[in-house]
Amino acid sequence: MRRLFGALVLALSLAVSALAQQQPLRITITDGVREPIPFAAPAFVPESPAAARIAADITQVLAADLSNSGLFREIPAANHIGQITSFDAPVRFADWRPLEARFLVVGSVAVREDAQLIVRFRLWDVDAGVELGTGQQFAGEPRIWRRMAHRIADIAYERLTGERGYFNSRIAFVAEEGPKGQRRKRLAVMDQDGANLSYLTGDETLLLAPRWSPDNRKILYTSYATGRPEVRELDLVSGNERSLTALGQVSFAPRYSPDGRRVVLSANEGGNTDIYIVDPATGARTRLTRALSIETAPSFSPDSAQIVFESDRSGSQQLYVMPSNGGEGTRISQGEGRYGTPVWSPTGDLIAFTKILNGRFHIGVMRPDGSGERLLTGSFLEEAPSWAPNGRVITFFRETQGESGAPQIWSVDVSGRSLRQLPTPGFASDPAWSAILE
C-alpha cells in the first residue's frame, strides 16, 4: 500500500469483515451521475470528551468532500433515525435503510496520552448489510486532522468508484483584486476544499498561471517582476525563487515533466513563440519547435514520451502532439473552432482543452489521438483546465461578462456533471491542482 503523508501512520487493518461477493456498491464516473448517491456520515464517536469537537469536524470535512464530488449526497443528521454510539457495536441497518442511505461512514476519534489522534473508520454498504473494504486506523498529530479526514474521504471514494481519490490535495491559483483594467494578482494556495488558504507572493507585479511540481514542493509561474513575462520557479520549502530563462528573455506557459526534472515552456525570439525544454538544475535549453507560427501551452504525457501543445500553423489555434524530443507534431483537434491550453490527464487517457466556438468558450476533453471529443462546460469566457490527481475531475476558471466581469474557479467531472464553483475569498483564476499530498 502507498505510504501516506508525513506523520500519519497507516493503518492497522481492523477486523476484516466478510466481503460480500454479490454486487458491491460501485459508481462509474465516466457514465455521469444523474442523481447523487445518498449516504449518511453520523458524527464520528469521540472516545473521550476531549475528542468530541475534532470528531465532529473530521466527520463534517469528509462528508463535504464526498458531497462536493457531485457523486454523493449526504443525508442531514437531523433526518437520522438511529445513532452510532460505539464504533465496534454492530450497525443496525434497519435505522439507515428507511433513509435510503446507500452507504454509511462510521468512525471514532480518540486522543492518545501522547496527544496523537487515533482515527478509525469503516464504510458500510447499507443495502447489502456488509462492510465495503476493511476498517482502517490512522494516527497523527492533531494539527493534520483535515488531512486525515480527506484521506478517509479518498478511501471511501476509491472503494465506491474504483478510481483513486483526490481530496487530499491542494489547489494553487491567482488571487485577483481591483478593477478589471488594473487587476492586482498574487499567488495563492489552498486545500482543494478551500481550507488553509495562504498567499505565496505580494501583488506588486503582474503574475500568471502557477504549476505544481510532481512532488508538490515547487511551483512554476510567470512573473512580470522584471517588466516582462518570465518563468520562475518558487521552492515552497526554502522560499527561494529563480528565473528559468536568461535575463530579458520572454518566457511563459511552463509545465514540469512527469519526473519533475525538466520544464517545458514557451519562449519568444523576436516576434515568434516556440517551445523549449529547460533543465532547471543547469539552465540548459533545448528548442523543440522551429516554426514562424505560435507554438505554446505545452504539456507532457504522463509517460513523458509525448508533448501536446497548441499552434496556429494551420491559420488558427489547434492542438498537436509531438515526441517529447521535438518534431513536426500531428494535429489532433479536428472539430470546428479554435482549441488551446491542452493538458494531458495524469491517467493518460484524455487531454483537456479550451475550445472557442462562435464566440463562446468551452472546457472539453478528447482522447490523445483526437477522437471522442466532448465539451463539458460552456460560458462567455472560461479556460485553463487543470486535472485533479485522479484524472477524473477538472478545475478551470470562468470569467463573467462586462465591466464588472471577474473570474472564479470551478470544477467539473469528466462526464460534464458536478459543475461547482470552488470557494475563494475573492476573484480567482488560473487554478492548478496538486498531486496527492504525501
Binding site: P179, K180, G181, R183, L206, L208, A209, G227, R228, P229, V250, F252, A253, S266, N268, G270, G271, N272, T273, I294, T296, A297, E310, D312, S316, Q317, G340, T341, T354, I356, G359, F380, L381, E383, A384, E399, Q401, G402, E403, G405, D430
Partner: protein
C-alpha cells in the same frame, strides 16, 4: 493657428484621420520642424500650445498606439501612418529606450494572447526599425489580455484593447 482639443485629436488620430500628411515618407528625415509643419501649432485642452518635442505631443497628438484587427498582427495603413509620425518624432527627439507593449482583447486564451500580443509589438518594432530607429533602442513586452484600457465585453472596447503602445523612457521628450 490651428486649435485642436487634444483629446479629440487622439480619437481622430486613432482612425488615421487627424494626420494631414499625404506622404508619410516625406516625414522620414524627421525633425520637429516638419512635425510642426504637418500639425501646425496644436493647443491642448488648457488652451496652451503643446510643444512638438514634448511627451504629450508624442502620446496625444501623434498618438502612442496603433490598433489591430481580431487575431491579427498585420499593420493597417492607419497604423503605419501613425508609426511614420512616431518614427519622425523619435528620430528628432532621441528618446532613449523605447518599449513597445503588445496587448490583446479578452476573447482568447491567456497563453495564446501573450504570443499574439508579442507578434503585434514585434510588428511595430520591426516597422520602426525600417524607419530608422535603431533596433537596440527598442524593446517589446507582451501583455496578452492582462491590461485592457476599455473594460466592456463588446467590440467597441475590444477594438481599443487590440493595440501596441509605444512607451517612451521616463524623462524622454521636452
Amino acid at each position: 493657428m490651428r486649435r485642436i482639443a487634444g483629446l479629440t485629436c487622439i480619437a481622430l488620430l486613432a482612425l488615421g484621420a487627424c494626420s494631414r500628411g499625404d506622404n508619410p515618407d516625406a516625414l522620414f528625415d524627421g525633425g520637429d520642424r516638419q512635425i510642426e509643419d504637418q500639425f501646425g501649432t496644436v493647443l491642448g485642452p488648457d488652451g496652451q500650445p503643446i510643444a512638438p518635442s514634448s511627451r504629450q505631443f508624442f502620446d496625444e497628438v501623434i498618438g502612442d498606439r496603433v490598433f489591430f484587427a481580431v487575431d491579427e498582427h498585420q499593420l493597417s495603413q492607419a497604423a503605419t501612418a501613425v508609426l511614420d509620425q512616431q518614427a519622425s518624432w523619435l528620430l528628432a527627439n532621441a528618446a532613449g529606450t523605447i518599449t513597445i507593449e503588445g496587448h490583446a482583447d479578452e476573447q482568447g486564451t491567456r497563453d495564446y494572447n501573450i504570443a499574439l500580443s508579442n507578434r503585434r509589438a514585434a510588428a511595430v518594432r520591426d516597422y520602426l526599425v525600417t524607419r530608422g530607429i535603431p533596433d537596440r533602442q527598442l524593446t517589446i513586452v507582451p501583455f496578452g489580455k492582462e491590461r485592457p484600457v476599455e473594460i466592456c465585453s463588446a467590440e467597441a472596447c475590444y477594438s481599443k484593447n487590440r493595440r501596441a503602445v509605444t512607451v517612451l523612457a521616463p524623462g524622454a521628450g521636452a
